[in-house]
Symmetry: C2
Subunit: 115 residues, 2 copies
């Protein structure tokens, strides 16, 4: 997984465990795609200090993932659910009854909401 | 949810975020069902100190749940998956083809592994 993408996912999972100030910087950098200089200007600080904050947060997020493995577990669960949808697709091909077809469609929709 | 049961579930989710010493005490109390006095004896400390450790851990676990809501999310996901299994049960009743029956059975087994 590309590092920036991984950190942004970890931020989704563990962001609430950072301080509000850290969260703001991470949000501007990963979700709003601002540059270090732009974030530094907003916070009235230096580019280097902003860079350090992001690096600290990255380390903290990686430690949380090492301990709780939420991203890893979530990834596995989603793979399982995607696989189940594929199997339901196969089942749907063989089913001609319209009511049963609709039922499988509804089940797939419920599963998709969790992917 | 009964408090002791809730704390024991939260310990499953967030136990890794406690210190090793805290984890040991919580494990003896919630998973091995030892009394405060028995845990105090093992750790060569007082019943009161053991009680305090458990109360501190409970507060820490509740703060993590307030921030990350893993138990809450997990509960909702499991309810959804249980509901999907019920719907697959209904579908299975109407299906006579043995191969399709087996396919639904396999899908249910995959879902059950995550409940």
């Amino acid at each position: 997984m590309e590092k920036r993408f991984e950190i942004s996912l970890l931020f989704d999972f563990y962001g609430e465990l950072l301080t509000e100030k850290q969260r703001d910087v991470m949000d501007l950098y990963f979700n709003n795609d601002l540059s270090l200089s732009e974030i530094a200007e907003i916070n009235n600080t230096s580019r280097q200090a902003t860079h350090d904050t992001i690096k600290t947060c990255e380390k903290v997020l990686l430690v949380y993932e090492e301990k709780l493995k939420l991203l890893n577990k979530d990834h596995k669960l989603k793979e399982t659910l995607k696989n189940i949808i594929l199997e339901l697709d196969n089942l749907q091909i063989d089913i001609k009854d319209e009511k049963m077809h609709q039922l499988i469609y509804d089940i797939k929709a419920q599963i998709s909401e969790n992917i």
